[in-house]
């Protein structure tokens, strides 16, 4: 490799990693939203589900040390992660219960869940931490990063897998990439995945074919809660190591848009989420070069709208 190509390639790798870091929370939430969307239940509550998981992940991993003094320190963040996921599942279950048992409109109920999460997290933040903005004073842990050994001779791969500081990439970034494959396999190769898609395609036909429709709808909504929860955990225990009020900042809605943009397929949804991650990275990059960040932050929503228009125009022509 020439002397010029090497730094260029290194920069490319650094950019790629930065994009993936920004995309990871959106990938998780979008995968969750995709599953429930394919089951015919649009989940507008992704934002709130992420937020609640992010909050409880931090709070429980900090307080677990007092509750279980015998626990090894490396287990604390994992305990927090579990607690955050559990809370996201509970909230998703509330949404499913209100929609499927009490006949609540899914979209309105989803917006209510977002409000509930936004209010409850700040309310509990004040009650537990005594701060309205963030848990910055708590010194909360992060989930570990994974280090690939034996890459010392391959500088580019070493940079890709272990980063500039050599500490490796966050475990949830790997999990997000694995999640894309897992969700794609789940939807196309497993019986439940097929059933979920059948329910979304035609509820009555699925019912007539003997598919347990309601159980599939519950499964889809709970899975979306779990995946969105992972996205939230990454935000507060990876991307940052603290909880901030409203730290999801619209990522749940971007995830919703990524599903539409990706034409409701796992690979497309992943690509759209990475695109949004790239715009976020670009905003940071342009912001450092005195280009108004507001203009850059308009890009993801505008791209989404443009993509919906293109998809609609194509549908009309065919």
């Amino acid at each position: 490799m020439s002397a010029v190509a090497m730094p260029m390639a290194a920069m490319g790798v650094t950019v790629l990693v930065a994009v993936l870091r920004n995309a990871t929370p959106i990938i998780f939430a979008a995968l969750g939203g995709l599953i429930s969307d394919l089951a015919g239940s649009i989940n507008v509550a992704l934002e709130g589900l992420m937020l609640i998981a992010a909050f409880f992940g931090v709070i429980v991993s900090v307080h677990a040390a007092q509750w279980f003094p015998g626990l090894a320190p490396w287990m604390l963040p994992w305990l927090g992660c579990l607690a955050g996921l559990a809370m996201a599942l509970v909230l998703a279950a509330v949404l499913a219960l209100f929609h499927l048992e009490l006949g609540a409109d899914l979209i309105v109920a989803g917006i209510a869940i977002n409000l509930l999460a936004a209010g409850l997290t700040v309310f509990l933040l004040v009650a537990i931490v005594g701060d309205k903005g963030s848990t910055a004073g708590l010194n909360s842990p992060s989930l570990p990063s994974l280090r690939m050994p034996g890459l010392a001779g391959l500088p580019l791969l070493d940079l890709l897998f272990n980063g500039e500081d050599g500490r490796g990439q966050h475990v949830l970034i790997y999990a997000a990439l694995a999640g894309v494959a897992a969700v794609a396999l789940f939807l196309s190769r497993t019986r439940w995945g097929t059933w979920i898609r059948a329910v979304g395609e035609n509820r009555d036909a699925a019912l007539a074919a003997g598919i347990p429709v309601k159980r599939m709808q519950y499964t889809a909504l709970l899975l979306s809660g779990l995946l969105a929860g992972l996205g939230g955990i990454y935000l507060s225990m990876g991307y940052l190591t603290l909880f901030q009020a409203n730290m999801t900042a619209g990522r749940g809605f971007l995830a919703l848009a990524a599903i539409f943009l990706g034409r409701r397929r796992p690979a497309g949804t992943f690509a759209a989420a990475v695109l949004f991650g790239a715009t976020a990275s670009m905003a940071a990059w342009l912001g450092a070069r005195h280009i108004d960040t507001q203009l850059v932050y308009m890009l993801p929503p505008l791209v989404t709208i443009a993509a919906l228009v293109v998809a609609g125009a194509r549908r009309r022509r065919s």
Binding site: D105, I107, A109, A112, F123, P300, I305, L308
Partner: protein, 377 residues
């Protein structure tokens, strides 16, 4: 994909319906109390402040005679009431056509910006600058509401996604213009210059920002009521909302009703923006909090999209929000409690089967029996 029709936003009557609203409110307030009790040392006092904090205090003393205190706080109820009424109407109009347009937030931001910019640029006497600002705000709201409508009928673009995206764009645009072009260099923070006095609505209550715009609220509600009940367009909007297939079969201009319902909703979001810039804030800060549009959603749902009921729902909600501020100041419970209550109210209102179908009948029987018993005694 098509969005699920918002079942619960249709006005409907019946005994189960009539019971649902008070039951939902009671259940939400009760659940909120339970959560408060978990974290607060004085939940009862906190809740009492939440419910009565907005009340003006009237007391009598021999020296001073009758005195009304805390009027400023009541003034903030009215200020909130005005904004929330317009936002409630902004969501109620598209809801009646079963369009889940959530773009009120973005429409309001851009309308406030337009009203502010026009007021600053035009100047002059009030009879020139005020109508111009109002026109700019309403037109901006209309245009920003028209976009998702057109995208929906032309390209079947889901209006929830497009309006949420347009909200993000609008907020960034608002911040960009204020940071870059409308900034008052003399101020210590990012804010537009103060609007000229001629551009402000005449004040009605001293020490508050309650202005003549208050009178626009009943006028706006009546206008929506008239539009829906008495005009062809209103009939088409309602027909499209109630039975889209029928409306299409009957040859109604469905696409026109869909687009115009969203755009007309935007006009009222525009009025909310006008209230923010030319009455309430009088200069626009860059960090105006997004999310007011969701409060408008609660109002529209509480009012069941019935324009007559929107002001009532807005007043109730404004009352609760002001009480929450009082609660935060005087107890250990933060005002975000209201967000939780708001969410619970929405959940309980849209839960169709929350009231068991047999309950109204049983209650009526109980009522008659006790009434009959009282007469016999």
């Amino acid at each position: 994909m098509s969005a699920a029709p918002p079942v619960a936003v249709e006005p409907s009557r019946g005994s189960a319906e009539r019971l649902r609203l008070p039951l939902a409110l009671a259940a939400a307030l009760l659940a909120g109390f339970c959560i408060t009790a978990l974290v607060s040392r004085e939940p009862l006092r906190a809740y009492l402040t939440l419910l009565t904090g907005a009340l003006p205090e009237i007391d009598w003393s021999a020296s001073g005679g009758w005195q009304v205190r805390r009027l400023v706080r009541f003034g903030s109820v009215i200020e909130d009431f005005i904004t929330l009424s317009f936002l409630g109407l902004a969501l109620a109009v598209p809801f009646r056509a079963r369009q889940f347009s959530l773009g009120a937030d973005g429409q309001m931001f851009l309308a406030a910006l337009a009203a502010c910019a026009v007021s600053l640029a035009l100047g002059g006497p009030w009879y020139r600058v005020l109508p111009a600002a109002a026109g700019a705000a309403m037109l901006t709201g209309f245009a920003w509401g028209l976009i998702p409508g057109l995208l929906k009928v032309r390209y079947q673009a889901n209006e929830i996604v497009t309006t949420l995206m347009l909200n993000l764009v609008a907020v960034q645009f608002y911040q960009w213009i204020i940071t870059g072009y409308l900034r008052d260099r003399g101020a210590g923070y990012l804010v537009t210059p103060a609007l000229p006095a001629a551009a402000l609505w005449p004040n009605l209550m001293p020490h508050t920002h309650v202005t003549l715009m208050l009178l626009l609220v009943p006028a706006a509600a009546a206008a929506v009521q008239l539009l829906l009940a008495r005009t062809t367009l209103g009939y088409e909007i309602r027909a499209v909302g109630a039975a889209p297939a029928f409306a299409r079969q009957a040859g109604m201009p469905v696409t026109r009703a869909v687009t115009l319902s969203m755009a007309l909703g935007g006009v009222f979001a525009g009025l909310a923006g006008l209230h923010l810039s030319n009455a309430l804030l009088q200069r626009l800060p860059v960090d105006l909090t997004p999310g007011l549009g969701y409060d408008g959603l609660v109002v529209a749902l509480l009012a069941r999209s019935e324009p007559k009921s929107v002001p009532l729902a807005a007043f109730f909600y404004a009352w609760l929000r002001t009480g929450a501020l009082a609660m935060e100041r005087s107890t250990d419970v933060s005002r975000e409690m209201v967000l939780v209550i708001e969410a619970l109210i929405i959940l309980f209102i849209v839960a169709d089967r929350l009231v068991p179908p047999g309950l109204p009948k049983a209650l009526r029987r109980l009522w008659h029996r006790s009434g009959a018993g009282a007469e016999a005694a």
